[in-house]
Symmetry: C2
Amino acid sequence: MKDMDTAEVAKATGVPASTLRYYEEKGLIASIGRRGLKRLFDPGIVDRLSLIALGRAAGFSLDEIAGMFTPEGEPRIDRSRLEDKADDIDRTIRQLAAMRDGLRHAAECRAPSHMECPTFRRLMRVAARGGLGEPVPSAPPRQVR
Amino acid sequence: MKDMDTAEVAKATGVPASTLRYYEEKGLIASIGRRGLKRLFDPGIVDRLSLIALGRAAGFSLDEIAGMFTPEGEPRIDRSRLEDKADDIDRTIRQLAAMRDGLRHAAECRAPSHMECPTFRRLMRVAARGGLGEPVPSAPPRQVR
DNA sequence: CTGCCACCTCAAGTCAAGTTGAGGTCAAGC
DNA sequence: GCTTGACCTCAACTTGACTTGAGGTGGCAG
């Protein structure tokens, strides 16, 4: 395939043009030239954007992701980083599972007020201590533009 | 117990004084009076802050949490909201589990480059479509002040 | 009674990840 | 050759949840 301009990349990947410019500015992607003012991208950009999306979904920041490419643009992914992240996710999953079970219990519990339900109060105590980590991102529906 | 001032509440709950002021401004908590300039809180504030922490950990925004109290300050938690949130969390867990498995595979995979591993590429494709939802919050260590 | 210092107020700053808007440019079609 | 419209640049704005800083005040130990 021939080189792609911003609009083509946006259409092919669903990543808005403004985000492509932003990623370029951050050094996450690079355009290979211009036609007039318009950026030209190598078609490999599509995979690269998928990889970036994957990194984001795994919980890496854009800066971390930027560090996962060699200056030449090859992915250079440290396997131990992946394992660490998998472990992070595992911990998160366990916390979320506890949270989910607690919420389900609270939803069904027949105690007159949640405050009188021992299960609910236990969950509260754990949350107060930070034992449940950071807030859950509520996975909002992905809008297709 | 007697009424508590900001510093006492902060010590008892680990919530910084600046955050207490912020929560009051947002209407999430109310001070019961003043001694000079200092806010005085009913000891019930401790439970209330636990409840707020729980809501945050469950993924509710501060505004949503504010809506879970009656104007009189009683918790008024809609059970169906809890179920919906539990369902949200369940979906998140499934996505995270897929992510974790993919990461573990990628960490072990003997393909010369991740890009040549079919499992990894499948994960990339799913991420590119937004099938993995929003980024995972990496549950950073809770700092105790 | 006095001074200290913890607490106060209010405005502004931070962070991440983008988005938005005003004004500019240029390749292409007529 | 000129218009058009898609892209461009650069700066500023957005959101959520707080934190920080400068300058003020008053309860209470001495």
